[in-house]
């Protein structure tokens, strides 16, 4: 009958008290750990999805909304931008820009967004093909791993997209079906939840109902010289566009028209075109051969931009210049996400305070139940002394009882938090477009264990000291 066993027996001898203590303590531990998990996994998600993006350019509105929409695919777009106005930033020869990824957002399938873009988005998120191939013909899509898992779509399947970003069958575009040609591997980033297609495919689906308004050329006064030429070229090419865009079924025609245009007017654009299409030089009808710069009055939602050198002075000033001098909006993801952390942080901190309060109350409850058990057990404690137990053994006994309670509560609390995460993972995954892993264990749980042990120790130290000072003679004489 070791001391540990005695402590254990004493604890389970009072099941109701045990239950109360464990429920309280486990609630505290569980809530703290749950918050840790959500915070960590959200932070991880935000970090994963930063993907080296230094700037996002989109329509004027809330910069945070623009970031959330285009990088995390949570919020709605702030609006669309005309390619003509954003030409400099799509130009692969821009001196400051390493990579720019166009995004066209607006349709979805079963809640998963269909994003019109180009292949560079895969490099951005380090995505590779799990099976099939990349989209190359109009209306071909390559889907993220989670989309494939949750919707059951596989290579060869066809589906109708629905207009808007929520799942609504009434808004289906029934005239044009997308075809899945490939599935991406799991990257742990937001691309897992996207349906990727060409920008052209998104336009095609939409241009059935929406005529594109002609837009006057914009004066990009602050753009670097190299961009000016592109811009001007864009407005020149405008007429060709206008003729062609209602004619989108005839892709060959449209494409060759643009090619001529590009060759005829600008060596610069020619280079851009070659670059975009160089994988498929012989297959002219493929959508990837299309150069967005040839469609200046078409619209896209945003452009994700990586700078060549993010500490470059001009690059640092670029968002401010864009916001001040153009109709576009530019925002830095790092700044906006920090702002978001600050805002969300208040709620998290309030919940954390609550969790710590519960933990404190649970420590108090352990203290009170141990303390009151001393009164009930004073003869038992004196008896243990009579049987040869030293005062320090009594001290240890009570401490052990506190610590055993803490350990049980810790285990229950940790399990509780993971089960809660498991229950909520699906819902949160929808809301945050990120798959939470409920069974991801963290070093913080070890810290929590240490914290729980300290709490159990502190709660039992006064009762233990009282037990230590048991006066056997006085206690046993009182009968």
């Amino acid at each position: 009958m070791s001391l540990l066993r005695l402590a254990w027996k004493n604890i389970i001898n009072n099941p109701l008290n045990l239950l109360l203590n464990i429920v309280l303590f486990a609630l505290g531990v569980g809530l703290i750990n749950f918050l840790f998990m959500v915070n960590d996994q959200l932070a991880e998600k935000f970090d994963n999805n930063l993907a080296g993006i230094d700037m996002v350019i989109g329509a004027k509105g809330s910069p945070l909304q623009m970031i959330l929409c285009n990088m995390y695919h949570i919020d709605n777009p702030t609006g669309n931008i005309q390619i003509g106005k954003a030409k400099p930033f799509l130009n692969p020869k821009h001196p400051l820009i390493k990579k720019s990824v166009p995004l066209s957002i607006g349709d979805s399938y079963k809640g998963y967004r269909i994003v019109g873009t180009d292949y560079s988005i895969m490099e951005l998120y380090n995505a590779e093909l799990e099976q099939g191939k990349k989209w190359s013909m109009p209306l071909e899509v390559t889907i993220g791993s989670i989309v494939a898992k949750k919707t059951g779509l596989k290579t060869g399947d066809k589906f109708f997209s629905s207009h808007g970003l929520v799942d609504d069958e009434d808004l289906e575009h029934e005239h044009s079906a997308f075809r899945v040609v490939g599935v991406l591997n799991n990257t742990g980033s937001v691309i897992d939840q996207l349906i990727l297609t060409s920008t052209k495919s998104v336009w095609d689906v939409h241009n059935h109902d929406e005529p594109v308004a002609e837009t006057p050329a914009t004066n990009l006064s602050n753009a670097p010289p190299v961009d000016e030429t592109t811009h001007e070229h864009g407005s020149e090419g405008h007429d060709h566009e206008g003729q062609n865009h209602n004619d989108h079924d005839d892709k060959n025609h449209e494409h060759s028209a643009h090619e001529n245009d590009a060759h005829g007017h600008s060596t610069h654009d020619h280079g851009a075109h070659d670059h975009a299409g160089h994988d498929h030089a012989n297959e002219e009808d493929k959508v990837e051969n299309i150069n967005l710069l040839d469609y200046p009055e078409e619209e896209i939602t945003a452009i994700l931009i990586q700078f060549k050198n993010r500490t470059n002075f001009q690059a640092l000033n670029m968002p401010r210049n864009i916001n001040a001098n153009t109709d576009l909006q530019a925002a830095s993801p790092a700044i906006e996400i920090n702002r978001l952390y600050d805002m969300v942080g208040v709620g998290t901190r309030a919940l954390q305070s609550l969790a710590f309060l519960i933990s404190f109350v649970s420590a108090l409850s352990i203290f009170i139940s141990l303390f009151s058990s001393l009164k009930r057990r004073k003869y038992e404690l004196a008896l243990i002394r009579v049987l040869g137990g030293s005062p320090s053994k009594l001290f240890l006994l009570i401490i052990l009882e506190g610590i055993i309670l803490a350990i049980i509560s810790f285990i229950v609390g940790i399990l509780l938090s993971h089960v809660a995460m498991w229950v909520m993972a699906d819902k949160m995954s929808e809301a945050y477009k990120y798959s939470f892993n409920p069974w991801q264990w963290d070093i913080k749980e070890l810290y929590l264990l240490v914290g729980a042990l300290v709490l159990g120790f502190v709660a039992s130290i006064i009762p233990a000291f009282r037990a230590y000072r048991t006066d056997i003679h006085k206690t046993l004489s009182k009968i």
Partner: protein
Amino acid sequence: MLQTLQLEHHYTVKDKITFPDIICKAGDTFLILGQSGVGKTTLLHILGGLLRPTKGSVSIDGKNMYDISASKMDAYRGHYIGIIFQQAHFVQALTVKENLLLAQQMGGTSDKNKIDELLSSLNIDHKADKYPENLSQGEKQRAAIARALVNNPKIILADEPTSALDDNNCNEVVQLLEQQAKEANAALIIVTHDNRLTEIFANQIILQ
């Protein structure tokens, strides 16, 4: 063998109790009689190493118990002295057998056969796995005797062991006590005001 010499205990300066000297050989039984409030329990606690006397000595086999340091006293008591209280206290969370195991662990011995032997010779082996609250008074007292004997002590102290028992149980418990003490070759000291016992034991002193 237990021997006391000029024991005195002062609760306060005025409240002073002196005790007659006691000699009790191994295997013998010694009765300490007296009315309530004359210091019977105080003497028992002094003999049991629970209360340091103000003056005098308590020797077991010629060695003064109170020469032992306070820190070693608990282990000494657990090993050499078995005490039976008027009210049989047990650790409520443990079964009878586990209570005896606890006594062995605290006393620094380990002998499960001894426990089984004692329980069956005291005729409560069928209650071994019961919790103390499910035992009758007589059974509790017998379990307490078993616990006092579990470490083969040199001294067995019994404080009013029969006061809560009827005549039948009283005789039975006293006989068991005496018999077990003899078998263990331990000195048995019974503190009581129970007149039923005065006729059984010859060795006795009366506290005034």
